[in-house]
Amino acid sequence: MNIPENLKYSESNEWINIEGRTGTIGISDYAQDQLSDIVFAEVIVSEGDIVKKGDSIATIESVKAAADVYSPVNGKILSVNEELGGAPEVINTDPYGAAWIVKIELSNPAETDTLLDAAAYDKVIQSH
């Protein structure tokens, strides 16, 4: 399972790439693998929305399940990936790249310290 070292993770299988006050959010390789073939993705927040940690930001449906994607942090949505709706399969093929879901302005960058690093996230998924 691919778990890039430079990202932070949530127990609900989101990743966030933090650059200064900006975070880019997606779902992990493990999550896409568990969902299997993804057929639908819909980002349910818009630019400018204020979201709280744990709020649903997107819905992803695969041939066998539907899942919510939750924001791992508090912040304001800067942009959403408009390409995702038309090509949800990139979540399977490129979960850490083309399949980013939203970019968010962190309201409290310090809180990202409470997120999991790659090693800790690896432990979480090993325990499943």
């Binding site: 818009s46 819905t59 449906e61 539907a66």
Partner: protein, 449 residues
């Protein structure tokens, strides 16, 4: 009978809610109403009851016994015998989509053909495999539009010329929700052009609902309204009479986002009001927001044509709590009846039925408008239904017509108090010229009498 709960289960549940016996649940009902004496007559045998029910039913007068000029949403069309013969086949008679749908290729093929026909008729890209009726289909359009904007737009504009019962159904569906319904207050100008709704539309508007032909039978082009709706990013739904679409420009060509309709005119008998059929079609971009199911055509592992449930009813399966609608069921058998009807008639046959309705209605309207004391209420072009202003209250005129075995029009004062002496008259291919002439003759007696 399957009774899932044991005495112990029941005792545990009663304990959980803090009561000792089931009767305690009903203690808010005044005691005298709790176990009323029903005063039923003595029990009879099946044979006696059958005779009694038969006698009661003889009092009924159906559209077959009377000459029918009543429409207002349900229409007396001819149903070819093949419709009934096909839908009664055992393989089809179970209306529910099977839970292992791909096992039932015939059912899926019928649904696929239904979807294809309705999409072609309405000019839309996708169509679900039906709702209950025209009224609930409009309510589902409201649900879908509201969900589409994820609650960020809560205004729904209903044209006052949408069927009053459809609007009532929308009110029932949306009661208690943040949805704000407007556009059809009792003082609305019923004769105003549909563009009169434009000033109400703003960026809080999720959906504008209109009817085509409208409740009064009039044919409006909604292209300009659709343009205004889209300019603020809102959606427009058009509720249709599918027979009219055999002749008229389809709502897809007017850029409608959702087309709903009452499918009853397509080969389904009047049947005292149901079961009917709710048509629902939309653009492909909204397919995931649409309630219900969608059948698709594909090829199997031997390269043969096969049908699958491309989108299953998510209301029932993997995302119940996220579904736009909680309506899980459909009108499978009625959808099949309409499919058989549309297939039998074809594009030209449907056009012919529509033309017959149109021309006969116009013949009737012209003759009635020439009677002293009568006039047409609106100068707008109509399809097979029109409003006449009468020299006496509509109810009185209908009573007189019934004395002559004629089922008169719809008394509009029920829904529009300002239209006290107004009747909504429907004419279909079932009405012969003789029937229309007799109808006109009886109407003329009112004026003289």
């Amino acid at each position: 009978m399957f009774i899932p709960h044991t005495d112990a289960d029941r005792a545990a549940m009663l304990h959980t809610v803090g009561i000792s016996k089931l009767e305690d649940l009903f203690k808010d009902v005044p005691e005298k109403y709790r176990f009323p004496t029903l005063n039923l007559p003595p029990a009879q045998t099946e044979m006696e009851i059958a005779t009694e029910l038969q006698e009661i039913s003889l009092v009924n007068e159906s559209a077959h016994d009377l000459v029918c000029f009543l429409g207002a949403g349900a229409y007396n069309h001819y149903v070819p015998a093949a419709v009934d013969a096909i839908i009664r086949r055992g393989e089809f008679l179970t209306a529910y989509t099977p839970y292992q749908p791909e096992l039932s290729q015939g059912t899926l093929q019928a649904i696929f053909e239904y979807q294809s026909n309705v999409a072609a008729l309405t000019g839309m890209e996708v169509c679900n495999a039906s709702h209950y009726d025209g009224a609930t289909a409009v309510a589902e359009a409201v649900n879908m539009a509201y969900a589409n904007f994820r609650g960020k737009r809560n205004k729904i504009i209903l044209s006052p010329t949408v069927h009053p019962q459809y609007r009532q159904t929308v009110r029932t569906y949306t009661e208690g929700s943040p949805i704000d319904l407007l556009g059809d207050d009792p003082h609305s100008d019923l004769k105003a052009s549909p563009d009169g709704l434009i000033p109400l539309i703003d960026t809080d508007t999720a959906l504008v609902v209109v009817q085509y032909p409208d409740f009064f039978g009039r044919i409006n082009d909604y292209t300009k309204l659709a343009e205004a709706v889209h300019s603020v990013g809102a959606l427009i739904a058009v509720s249709v009479n599918p027979i009219a679409l055999g002749l008229l420009k389809d709502p897809g060509s007017m850029n409608a986002d959702i087309v709903t309709g009452e499918g009853q005119p397509l080969g389904i008998p009047l049947s005292f009001g149901g079961p009917y059929l709710g048509l629902f079609a939309t653009r492909k971009e909204f397919v995931r927001k649409m309630a219900g199911r969608l059948t698709g055509e594909t090829v199997d592992n031997r390269g043969q044509r096969a049908y699958v449930l491309t989108l299953t009813a998510r209301e029932q399966h993997i995302r119940r709590e996220k579904a736009t609608s909680n309506i899980c069921t459909n009108e499978g058998l009625m959808a099949l009846a309409s499919t058989v009807y549309m297939s039998l008639l074809g594009k030209n046959g449907l056009r012919q039925v529509a033309e017959l309705c149109f021309h006969k209605a116009h013949y009737a309207a012209e003759r009635i408008a020439n009677l002293p004391g009568y006039s047409l209420w609106s100068p707008t072009t109509f399809f097979n239904e029109f409003v006449i202003r009468c020299p006496a209250p509509a109810a009185e005129i209908n009573d007189l017509l019934l004395d002559h075995d004629i089922l008169g029009g719809y008394d509009l004062s029920q829904d529009y108090p300002e239209l006290g002496n107004h009747l909504l008259i429907a004419v279909t291919e079932m009405n012969t010229r003789d029937q229309i002439d007799r109808f006109v003759e009886v109407l003329s007696e009112v004026n003289h009498g």
